[in-house]
């Protein structure tokens, strides 16, 4: 895990934060994560997945199905039916896991592993060195 961040580099009074992390996974895959609290506009998500036979890209800013323009505002949205909302699906997965007595899709271990990576990124940003997990 190798990372840089504004909170690590600047004073804690900095209201905007921005972090860049590069990961080398056990499988050999390399990934790069941008964590942004710096854009004044509404949040968005984007990913790019490259393989040896192709590329899959997505950017929520280019996936708006509704764009409203008035003198006062310009806003965009990409509505889903309530059952398809990720929060709804997450809750449904938890209920199903409890009913079926199994681990949910994102279980405690997944949460713990993500915290380990985040802590390693914070450490790397402070020390400037790469961290191996």
């Amino acid at each position: 895990v190798h990372a840089r961040s504004l909170t690590a580099a600047l004073s804690s009074s900095n209201r905007r934060d921005y972090g860049l992390t590069t990961l080398r996974h056990a499988s050999g895959v390399i990934s790069h994560v941008e964590s942004c609290w710096a854009d004044p506009a509404t949040g968005y998500t984007a990913y790019e997945i490259a393989g040896d036979a192709g590329l899959l890209v997505h950017d929520s800013r280019r996936a708006a199905t509704l764009t409203l323009s008035t003198d006062a505002t310009r806003s965009a949205a990409a509505p889903l039916h309530p059952d398809d909302d990720p929060y709804h699906r997450q809750a449904a997965e938890f209920v199903a896991a409890v009913r079926e007595g199994r681990s949910p899709l994102a279980d405690g271990r997944a949460g713990r592993d993500a915290v380990r990576v985040a802590a390693a990124a914070a450490l790397s940003a402070r020390t400037g060195k790469a961290v191996t997990l």
């Binding site: 036979a53 590329l55 899959l56 764009t67 409203l68 323009s69 990409a78 509505p79």
Partner: protein, 329 residues
Amino acid sequence: MKRITLLSAAHLHADSYVAELKGRPDVLLAGVWDHDAARRGAASARYGIPELAGIDEALSGAHGALVCSENVHHEDLVLRCAEAKVPVLCEKPLATTPDAAKAMVDACAAAGIPLMTAFPCRFSASWMRFKEMVGGGAIGELLALRGTNQGMCPGGWFVDKALSGGGAVMDHTVHVTDLLRDLLGDEVERVHCEADSRLLHGGFDDTGFLTFDFVGGTFATLDASWSRPKSFPTWGNVTLYAVGTKGTLEMDMFAQDAVLFNDREMRVRNQHWGSSIDGGLVDAFLTAVETGEVPQGAADGVDGLRAVEVVEAAYASVASGSPESVRRR
């Protein structure tokens, strides 16, 4: 348990309807009938449902039927459903002529069974929000609209007028016409259509630009062309741009995409991740099967008929070169 039967798998939308029905725990897919034995066998294998040799057998004991045949056969099949008193969801366009569509509406009304037209765009999450926003005054008073339903040419029987009744204008006029009627609560009074066959040179209309004058004075245009080339990254689009006194609202119904660049096929394809539109359509039909009535919000036979009347006026305009009045039955 609702027994649903599939009458023909000629239309590619059958795949999606069947997939939706298979996801419903209270539905039993009774089987598929098709006048084309090879297509019937292929559909039976693809869907993993029984092959039914005759229409009578297909309708016997069925609680509902899906008609996904070539357009010209819709009339016969829906009339058979009416005779057997089996509620029916018919693929669009409801028929190739308003007289045929009217006969279907009347027969189902006389038999006391619900007839639904497959206008799934009504169940798009973005369309529902679009209607709410326009109805809630987000752009003030609605003045004019511009729509597109541009697509790839589906080929096959779609370009054989004896089976389809027409080209792009027949295939792609009805969806946006239905959305405009649903939004405005108004009927099309007059249609102008400029059409041609210069994209694919196939002797069928592949290009159609329609102008609608509504009874209440709103005007709108629609590009119904099969103008997306074979290399286009998706099948096509449904878009609507509304202009009001206080602003504009634009919908691109299928913009919820990731893009896959695939070197194995040397293709770029859009991967849609938005909510299904066919799920709401299928649920509405199952409600119709249960209650005996087409539920609020879904398109019934009259909605299908009104769209076919607009298609008739469009082709009349192509022939005359002038706007033509819509003749309502």
